[in-house]
């Protein structure tokens, strides 16, 4: 049973978003990290890069596979989680706290309305 915090929003691509004013923190969900297996490498954009909703902005790799990270909303990277360079396994052990990926400054806040809430994300997983 995957953990789905009620205070977050979710994308169809199994990323979570924590909204804080015009900034959002982005990570991958508990379901996604479990499906990937042990994360051994994370490639993230540098601060100042712009990302487009639905477009790949980075990669997360397990021992066996590579997955693109898709931006849940458009915006500019304000910060990336530098601790993942040395400790990518934080994505597994703490997907919603220490394993966050990037902080974005959102260019169009209305795009956040298109994300799922926790119940909607649970239904997405139930349907899978």
């Amino acid at each position: 049973m995957s953990e789905i915090p009620a205070d977050l929003r979710y994308s169809q691509d199994h990323e979570w978003v924590r909204v804080d004013g015009d900034r959002v923190t982005v990570g991958i969900t508990d379901y996604a990290q479990d499906a990937l297996g042990d994360v051994v490498f994370v490639d993230l954009p540098e601060a100042g890069s712009s990302v487009q909703a639905g477009q790949a902005f980075g990669e997360v790799e397990s021992t066996k596979s590579v997955s693109d990270l898709y931006a849940p909303v458009s915006g500019t990277v304000v910060e990336r989680n530098a601790s993942l360079e040395a400790n990518p396994e934080l994505v597994n052990s703490s997907p919603y706290v220490q394993g966050w990926l990037v902080v974005l400054e959102v260019s169009d806040a209305s795009a956040l309305d298109e994300l799922l809430d926790a119940d909607g994300y649970q239904r997405l997983l139930d349907a899978a």
């Binding site: 051994v40 490498f41 490639d43």
Partner: protein, 371 residues
Amino acid sequence: MSEGRLRRTPLTDRHEAAGARMADFAGWAMPLDHGSVVAEHHAVREDCGVFDLGHLGSVSVTGPEADAVVQRALTVAVDRLAQGRSQYALCLDPNAGIIDDLLVYRLPWGLWTVPNAANLEAVLAALHAAREGRDAAVVEHGERVGCLAVQGPRSAEVLAEVGLDPGDLRFGRALPLPRDVDAPAPPPEGGVLARTGYTGELGYELFVGAQRTRELWDRLLDLGVQPAGLGARDTLRLEAGLPLHGNDLSVATDPVSARLQWATRLGGGFVGEQAAARLAEEGTPRRLIGVRATGRGVPRAGCAVHQGDREVGTLTSGTMSPTLGVGIGMGYLDRDVEVGAPVTIVVRGRSVPAEVVTPPFVRREAPGASA
């Protein structure tokens, strides 16, 4: 092949009940991991892990001319294969393409070999072709045989605790099981305990009947041995520099390019020998060698390797080494790209700096580990 049609080892029910991540491997339902590839990998390096290898083939060749059959079908030096020993050998096609790589054992009932699951039919075909006109029998023991690989520094100790003390069994040697019978038989009626493995660690492989396999699995887990899946088996073998058929070896590769000439003693009369001899004399443009990333990134099979602007080869395996914490890989590189040379690995369009190295990437100092 649909999920319902997958072949099952004596332990598939246990993997599923334990919630292992399962996958179709060569038509078998096999565990990729029991929760964490990396944790299973470290358990084998530091303590002990157990793998279900029930998908491996199990083939006996018996009769007065068994030696001649095996010498024809495989690159084994059968006259140097003493009782209770094993040899690593190849099964070649007439062009010296590698059909399979496998261990051949001499045991009290005859010669015995364990082909890779995906290549079992091709190896059986080669053995049956070699049997034509010779007084020998080729018997596949099939799904009734279970195989456990118990690997890691604590492996001898845990085997002693389950009543299978390997004593001072040396690397590459094998004992029939049980040891107290006059007429040892191949598994599943009898069994084999061999000091062999695919991890670079001290370790043993056990081939026994299905019920015995289940009992041993349960007892080993009770002793705290980590169940491990094919994911960790792959990262461990790659760190140990051991090639994997299907990745690093195939019918499109040959013993000279794969640097496996040591396993092909010429003069035995095996299929592919003339082609192998010609390749050995003429040389090959590329050879299988290791790369170790010096920058961030994970090499993968299929990645191109560049030196300056020139493409010098392609990787056939790659991963993030859990032991070293850097990307490692193996591939076929031009022979003029020397060990120690800086290269770049093209990982999905990004250049990752790396160095050419001779595997193994992780060398263990297990007591008596060399044959």
